[in-house]
């Protein structure tokens, strides 16, 4: 009920609509990556490495994709072949995939007619893979790590914070020292140390989960502290004391009385923490310690943009994952602020 009311309030504000809209669009794009991507993540084309984004032209009354040729292989310089283009096709045939894991199909939103042409909306990378497609598939990793991590963190934070706020005493003391301790460590240092300790015990395709776990272990402390404070104040309320005197068990009280009051704060805290996860994963993958080649993740794609020739030969399209991260994070931040204003206008930012 509360969530529904909050959601309606969000829609009342223009910034709320904007940020929520952007996020929904991003997550939908990630889910429907198979449909939206013209090429598979790993489809290489060594004839067209570092290809610039293909221009769209209007030809013969329809939208077409400009054809290019390689004029200088030593520089990866391509020039448009004047007058030659390939028709753009909607809902055409492309590589095979399982739609949402359900049924096999070959239909994609945008494809190109003609086997010699390529549709590179955002250019190609060092081995000729389509950046736009990888951006979409990379969104799956980068966006869902945040959601997964938040679930773990909020649960942990709620349990520790809630319980210590409720019980107080020695449990509270120990828990809060732990929290202070966790917050006293520089996050990234701990992240790297954890990663180098845990990684060798896992396979490379399990890295996704290892990273989520690591990020959650670092992030729960802040949430716990805030929730503890709130639990403390809620505990003073009449109905809670009444429930206690009636003999209800602490866990029941937590679930029935404390939690509902915290939900809105939890929502705000979660929304404002997700960017941290996205940035954490991006940083790890960027350093080569997270998602590895040849999977796609925004951080990993950015690490390839670090090559010097990218800067000097101006392959700017390799930097687009950075902007994708930026848009996602800013959308979350704005949404978080809007939610906070709705839930408690007096709640200060940290």
């Amino acid at each position: 009920m509360i969530l529904f009311r909050i959601f309606r309030e969000v829609l009342r504000r223009p910034l709320g609509v904007l940020s929520a809209g952007v996020l929904i669009a991003l997550y939908t794009a990630a889910l429907l990556a198979d449909v939206l991507a013209p090429y598979a993540t790993n489809e290489q084309d060594l004839e067209r490495t570092y290809h610039p984004p293909t221009a769209l032209v209007w030809h013969d009354g329809s939208l077409q994709v400009q054809a290019y040729e390689l004029v200088d292989p030593t520089e990866a310089k391509y020039a448009a072949v004047v007058g030659q283009s390939y028709p753009l096709r909607w809902w055409g045939q492309g590589f095979e995939y399982r739609f949402l894991g359900l049924f096999k199909t070959q239909r994609h939103l945008l494809t190109i007619d003609g086997a010699e042409g390529r549709l590179y909306l955002l250019g190609s990378d060092s081995t000729g893979r389509d950046v736009f497609s990888r951006l979409l598939y990379g969104a799956r990793v980068s966006l869902f790590i945040g959601l997964l991590g938040i679930t773990i963190t909020t649960t942990l934070g709620f349990l520790v914070g809630g319980l210590s706020g409720y019980f107080g005493g020695r449990f509270d003391f120990v828990a809060m020292r732990c929290v202070e301790f966790m917050m006293a460590m520089p996050g990234l240092y701990l992240l790297l140390a954890l990663r180098s300790a845990l990684a060798p015990h896992f396979e490379s395709d399990q890295m996704f989960f290892v990273i989520v776990v690591i990020l959650s272990l670092i992030g729960w402390a802040g949430t716990a502290r805030v929730l503890r404070g709130m639990t403390l104040s809620i505990r003073q309320h009449q109905y809670v004391m009444a429930a206690e005197s009636m003999g209800q068990s602490p866990l029941v009280i937590l679930r029935r009385h404390v939690l509902p009051n915290l939900v809105s704060y939890l929502l705000v805290a979660a929304t404002l923490s997700i960017p941290g996860y996205i940035l954490g994963e991006a940083a790890l993958s960027f350093l080569g310690l997270g998602i590895q080649e040849p999977s796609a993740s925004w951080g990993l794609m950015l690490s390839q943009a670090q090559d010097v020739k990218v800067f000097y030969l101006n392959f700017w399209w390799l930097l687009t994952p950075g902007f994708a991260i930026f848009v996602t994070v800013i959308a979350y931040n704005i949404l978080g602020d809007v939610l906070r204003d709705i839930v408690d206008p007096k709640m200060k930012t940290r």
Binding site: M183, G187, Y189, A193, P275, V308, L319, V329, T349
Partner: protein, 324 residues
Amino acid sequence: MIAFILRRLLTLIPLLLGITMLVFILMSLAPGDFLTPVKAQRDVPAELIQAIETEFGLDRPWYVQYVKWLGNVVQGNLGHSWAYKLPVVDLIGQRLWATFLLSLAAFVFAWGVAIPLGVLAAIYKDSIFDRIVSALAYAALSVPEFFLALLFVFLAAQTGWFPLGGATSIEYDYLSFAGKCADRAYHLILPTLALGIGSIASIMRIMRANFLDTIRAEFVTTARAKGLSEFVVMFKHVLRNAINPLVSSFGFAFSGLLSGALMVEIVLQYPGLGQLMYQSILREDQFVVLASVMMGCSMLVFGNLLADVLLAWSDPRIRLEKKK
């Protein structure tokens, strides 16, 4: 005041111990031990390996190792780096200084820009200036630090106005003292900007919020009623009170700086503590990893201490608070 500092120092020691123990446990989880990379090298005399094994108790369980390591640390022996063939202490010294310089520069830059911006934004609330600055702050908060650093490298490569990395030029040794300072400063420009911009945003927003809150406080109305000029009211009374809560977040800001510095150092190839730690992790140079993490945490902890001291100095209520 001294008593306060001492009390705080006392609470710091268990904190440091706890952190190092945690990292030590983590290191022992990694496969192999401190000596794994050494086996491939032939120039490490067997006596040295033997000596280190006994000094650090590498054949004993991890808690024994920890105690021995701690004992060595207190005596100034942080172990031996296999990648650089130097005692870790020598290695960390120069790197620590470089990172400290960078963090300090970013800190001064961030606060120096953010506080006036925040004050002005508060005073001219809801004006075009306020709106633009707030929007920019939002944007700056959302950009990943390493991406910003990457963009800066891009800029440096295209324009040639800035060095692409490093802390000093090739001719550094042959410059005069003033020349050396200028050279270091020149190399610090991009890293400081990359690191500081994110901080500016968050500090500015808090400053603005605090300032607005303080303006509404009663003592301000009193001051105005007393006939003090607006300028004095704003900058002598409001500002002083508005800054206090900000100082308490000093420690947290410092933590963010340290983490951010790591990424910036790596992208801009600035030879600091963060970059050292990253490379040591890649090379499995365990002693160095352990020492860097410990140094990083120590810097953070002492940063917090400094913040607390500053806060206590400016706000007597905290000094006099009884220990719970």
